[in-house]
Symmetry: C2
Subunit: 274 residues, 2 copies
């Protein structure tokens, strides 16, 4: 089954546009686990179990594992998600970007070692830095397009003088990803939730690509505006929330609190579908 089929399936089955982001920070873990990097798996697995029927995807952010020497815990978590929520696709958030021969190694890491269904990538080094991931037919690849951080403007909002219509850099990326770069229909785009007008602009340029939209919740994006700007009958959205769910409570009821936060976010997103 391809990533896009899994995504459509989980979106329908769980009636959800919500992606649960797994950014484990031991210092923010609930009492009993707090500060213990050896419990990253336990914490994340509890979140997965509490939200598996509410999410259209899970998105582990690999930096949070790498900082704590927790690669084996991430491998275990990937297996756990596959076993307990086989219908929910997993997007490995790694934002890799390197030349072909090195990109092949990162593709092995994402798709073979961790068994991810999709990965996030940086397009800065151009199409041939994306291509090795597309050799894994059916896997998804979300390219950074317009990111939600303040510095996202620095390069992404530069206007390109020599491209037809003088698009902004992120608009150019959206167009390339919808068109010539999307050889096997595997591409999607990452577009931050803090700028709904820009989500709308990206959607106009990339009418059918899945949009991965981080920044709802802790980062301040508006759930309803995000869905209205990005969702189309043929254009799926995956709206990510991490910290607002993971750290909804710092006591032993953290998993139930996470479930409640996920449910509230899912409902807010669904209400905006109209």
């Amino acid at each position: 089954m391809t990533f896009i089929d899994m995504l459509r399936g989980a979106t329908a089955r769980n009636d959800s546009l919500l992606c649960v982001g797994l950014d484990p920070e031991p210092s923010r873990f609930p009492a009993g686990l707090r500060g213990d990097a050896g419990r990253i798996y336990d914490f994340c697995a509890a979140i997965v179990d509490a939200t598996a029927d509410l999410a259209c995807a899970f998105k582990p952010q690999i930096a949070y594992f790498a900082a704590h020497r927790a690669e084996e815990q991430l491998e275990r978590l990937m297996r756990h998600m596959r076993a307990t929520a086989p219908h929910v696709p997993v997007i490995l958030d790694a934002k890799r970007g390197d030349i072909g021969s090195t990109a092949q190694q990162y593709a092995i890491e994402a798709f073979e070692r961790y068994g991810a269904d999709a990965v996030t990538l940086s397009p800065f080094m151009g199409f041939d830095s994306i291509e090795p991931y597309l050799a894994y037919h059916g896997k998804g690849a979300f390219l950074l397009c317009r990111t939600s951080n303040p510095g996202g403007d620095d390069l992404q909002s530069q206007r390109l003088a020599s491209v037809d219509g003088q698009p902004l850099l992120f608009e150019h990326i959206a167009r390339q990803a919808q068109g010539p770069w999307n050889r096997n229909g595997q591409l999607g785009l990452v577009v931050g939730a803090t700028y709904p007008a820009e989500i709308e602009r990206v959607r106009a340029l990339a009418p059918t690509l899945p949009l991965l939209i981080p920044g709802v919740g802790a980062q301040g994006g508006d759930a309803a505006a995000t869905v209205r700007a990005g969702l189309r009958p043929d254009g799926p959205v995956v709206v990510n929330s991490s910290r607002a769910i993971l750290y909804a409570s710092a006591d032993e009821g953290f998993a139930a609190a996470a479930r409640q936060a996920a449910q509230a976010t899912r409902d807010a997103l669904n209400a905006a579908r109209g």
Copy 2:
């Protein structure tokens, strides 16, 4: 000691502009080690021992370790380099690029977990995605500027309509890195060796930044043209060669062959210093 001091020290002591890139591919290992991902450390340590007096830096490429579940071997290799070549700085080639809170995790990975002296980064997400690394005073951060792969053109050579003088994107990055982004003098730039004219252009815009120049050797860049284009009395260059050294021989004399290849490349680079 700061990265830049270490780099100047090793360049002088070893009379070398050569960075030895560590991109271990078990399938290309010499007979006896071939195909055995458990021997990545042994292979790399032998290369380090054979070239420690010839290199101004070592550059492990983390993807080659991650693809083979070899993080512990990389940790061990970092300790080995520190112990046997304490005067040679280590650049962790990771090309990370993410928002602030995630970038902090990657900075922990590079500087605390692996103890690297410098790291490579993607500037695509803007200055605030670089800032967390600069909090580690004295550490170096090389930003991707103009990469040597064919697709490097796709975005990096776009002309920016709204920036003074309408620079190309990579020229804009060079200017930002030499100027406002370089708050504590920690930044450098990655510029591919396949385009000496562009190295010269970057050097004009960033007269004092260290340039990390991959692409000499297996990737076809011309060593002499590279040095002439990039090296200035106040502007250091670090010229990387990986595969041409690592895989100089596929038999048991691989370390001696690597030493010979490193020596030849070092000499070719030095000859161009004039």
